[in-house]
């Protein structure tokens, strides 16, 4: 053979099995991208599903802990508005007489009652923005005051506010309502309820707000000192829901007060049913997608290994052990799985967390994102499960390849 005048400059890179796997994937860029895309969709769905279900469960648990009252009594025809304010922070105003509290406290089996009233601020110059303001009575309150004083370590004073976790104000900031500024004395932890987008104040502060509103020409259907929006009711331990519910309805009817009675258990059960239904759909969808992805990957890997029989036989002839061949096949599958899982997780992080508020509003269900360490765990779990989908899908192809006689493999590959 003729001598060449020019010596080639050889590559110095090591040609390990993973390098060969990378070369194979790079040379089949379209196929590799499609497979990674499939795994990315799987990873995105799995992680998103896990975050959604965990957040909804967290929201549910938060709701159970935060509701505090066993019954909530609101003016007739305002149950939906009240639930909107309670669960989603939708601004709402509705009032009835303050004597309702006294009437309810006299019913047998009821141990505590406390009034609340709701004011909706405006989105005009007089107010920082439109938000639900919730006034409570510190003397009798057993719903809001305990967790406010738990976080503040003191009672809320006149002129002070506590803001929900989704309002972007820090302690010391001021908020303006109807021309007057109020100081933010604290921020609440996330609850997954409407409380997250509400502002809390005691009755004295609320009266200030209402006076200022009146000066600005805004007349709420409210008689100062005589109206409230809701009464929170605490019943005795082991109470009979329907008995107390009936007693409340009867007593208010006798007093000529038209009201709706909302049982916490009913709200929790309804929300719980919706959440469980949603979680069921998420699970079914995730499992279906998982199965579909593994089947598709299996088919692609089987075809891929079939068309590469000759390459595998050549490696074997050159001295690759069966273990090395398995490393090559699983290595390629793992690279696809790992790459796809990382892409899917990155996309999920980009979509889920910046838009979590929007997602929770869209779902209309209590929604509390899990703590960072839990998110990290779920991300790792999703990464491992989807990353393993590739190797899992290539098991049977790999087994067939290594058990075949090399020459048969070579011939089939021709």
């Amino acid at each position: 053979m003729s001598q060449q005048e020019q010596s080639p400059k050889g590559s110095k890179k090591k040609l390990g099995i993973i390098t060969i796997a990378c070369c194979n994937l790079k040379k089949k860029a379209v196929r590799t991208s499609c497979l990674m895309g499939l795994v990315a969709v799987l990873s995105f769905t799995l992680f998103s599903g896990l975050i959604l279900t965990t957040s909804l469960r967290g929201g549910m648990e938060s709701m159970r802990q935060r509701l505090g009252a066993d019954f909530m009594v609101v003016p007739d025809g305002n149950q939906a508005k009240f639930e909107g304010a309670l669960l989603r922070g939708e601004p709402g105003t509705f009032y009835f007489g303050r004597d309702t509290t006294k009437i309810l406290s006299d019913i047998e089996g009821i141990i505590k009652t406390t009034p609340q009233f709701f004011i909706t601020s405006l989105s005009t110059d007089c107010c920082s923005y439109q938000v639900q303001l919730i006034g409570y009575e510190p003397k009798t309150d057993f719903v809001i005051a305990p967790w406010i004083s738990g976080q503040l370590k003191k009672d809320l004073e006149k002129g002070e506010l506590v803001v929900g976790s989704k309002l972007e104000h820090q302690v010391g900031d001021t908020l303006k309502f109807f021309g007057r500024e109020y100081v933010v004395a604290g921020r609440l932890q996330e609850t997954g309820l409407g409380f997250d987008t509400s502002v809390f104040m005691n009755f004295d502060t609320a009266e200030n707000v209402l006076d200022d509103a009146k000066i600005k020409g805004i007349h709420y259907r409210f008689n100062k000192g005589d109206s409230i929006s809701a009464v929170m009711v605490k019943a005795e331990e082991g109470y009979d829901v329907s008995a107390i519910n009936n007693a409340i309805v009867d007593r208010l009817r006798e007093a000529g007060i038209k009201a709706d009675v909302v049982a916490s258990r009913t709200i929790v059960t309804t929300a719980s049913d919706h959440i469980n239904q949603f979680i069921f759909y998420v699970k079914v969808f995730s499992v279906m997608l998982w199965v579909l992805a593994v089947v598709l990957l299996s088919v692609v890997f089987t075809f891929s290994v079939h068309e590469r029989k000759k390459e595998i036989a050549v490696l074997r002839i050159l001295g690759a052990t069966k273990g090395k061949l398995l490393q090559l096949i699983f290595g390629e599958a793992a690279l696809i799985g790992t790459g796809g899982a990382l892409v899917g997780l990155s996309l999920a992080f980009l979509v889920l967390f910046p838009f979590s508020t929007l997602i929770s509003l869209t779902l209309n269900l209590p929604f509390v994102l899990p703590p960072p360490q839990r998110i990290a765990f779920l991300a790792m779990l999703s990464f491992l499960l989807t990353g393993a989908a590739g190797p899992a899908a290539s098991v049977s192809s790999a087994y067939r390849i290594v058990k075949n006689e090399i020459q048969a493999t070579m011939r089939e590959g021709e």
């Binding site: 080639p8 050889g10 040609l15 036989a313 050549v314 050159l318 052990t321 090399i406 020459q407």
Partner: protein
């Protein structure tokens, strides 16, 4: 003795009947010997090579390479033996399509644990087979003759004791065939035994011995230039 083939047999089933593609073949080879195997198509030449390289399992008999019965070795040891002591040039195109020519030649070095770097030797081999300028090309860009040279360079990268070539001149023009045969003869002169299956009658001119096969059996062994004998034998 470098290679000892004893009563090597491979039986296949064709319908209900069994037939022997290789039938009790025995021969030996010493270091640096250049031996060719000839015979008509279907006479069992390639099957014999595939048995010797361990690509096929025998129905009977044994193959000793450097004193070790290759069929008694476990996968790890036999893979190592195939990697370090055997070079193999396949009848069909066998370069890995996703690797460059240079990486194809370097590849065997990395299939077992070794120190060092094979690039210089790979470059030298590519020069020897005349395709140094194609080091960075991919197999799809090469002709049949160039691919055959890649396979030869790759088979020699680890300086094997035995080079097995299955019709290395198949589909090559006369000039390239001559160059390949001369190169294989020079490999044998440098101490690597070469066992080659070929249809080329002229190939025997380059060999120390030529084995003739018919219906799976070794029917004749000739020394030197046996082309005339081959013609009369079949």
């Amino acid at each position: 003795m470098l290679l000892e083939v004893n009563q090597l047999t491979r039986e296949y089933k064709r319908g209900r009947e069994a037939f022997r593609a290789v039938d009790e073949v025995s021969f030996t080879m010493a270091d640096g010997e250049f031996v060719s195997i000839r015979g008509r198509s279907g006479s069992g030449k390639s099957t014999l090579l595939n048995l010797i390289t361990g690509l096929l399992q025998p129905t009977g008999g044994s193959v000793f390479l450097d004193g070790e019965n290759i069929f008694e070795l476990d996968d790890r040891n036999y893979s190592y033996l195939r990697n370090s002591k055997l070079g193999y040039v396949s009848q069909v195109q066998s370069a890995l399509s996703n690797l460059t020519v240079m990486d194809n030649v370097r590849l065997p070095f990395f299939l077992s644990k070794r120190d060092g770097e094979p690039s210089e030797r790979a470059a030298a081999l590519l020069e020897q087979v005349g395709i140094a300028h194609l080091a960075k090309a991919y197999p799809a860009q090469l002709s049949g003759g160039e691919l055959k040279r890649v396979a030869i360079a790759r088979a020699l990268i680890l300086s094997p004791e035995l080079l097995i070539a299955d019709e290395p001149t198949c589909d090559l023009d006369l000039q390239t065939t001559k160059e390949v045969l001369e190169f294989l003869a020079s490999v044998a002169q440098r101490g690597t035994a070469v066992l080659m299956v070929t249809h080329e009658a002229d190939a025997s001119e380059y060999c120390n011995r030529t084995l003739f096969m018919e219906s799976g059996k070794l029917v004749h062994i000739a020394s030197g230039n046996p082309s005339g004998i081959f013609c009369s034998a079949i």
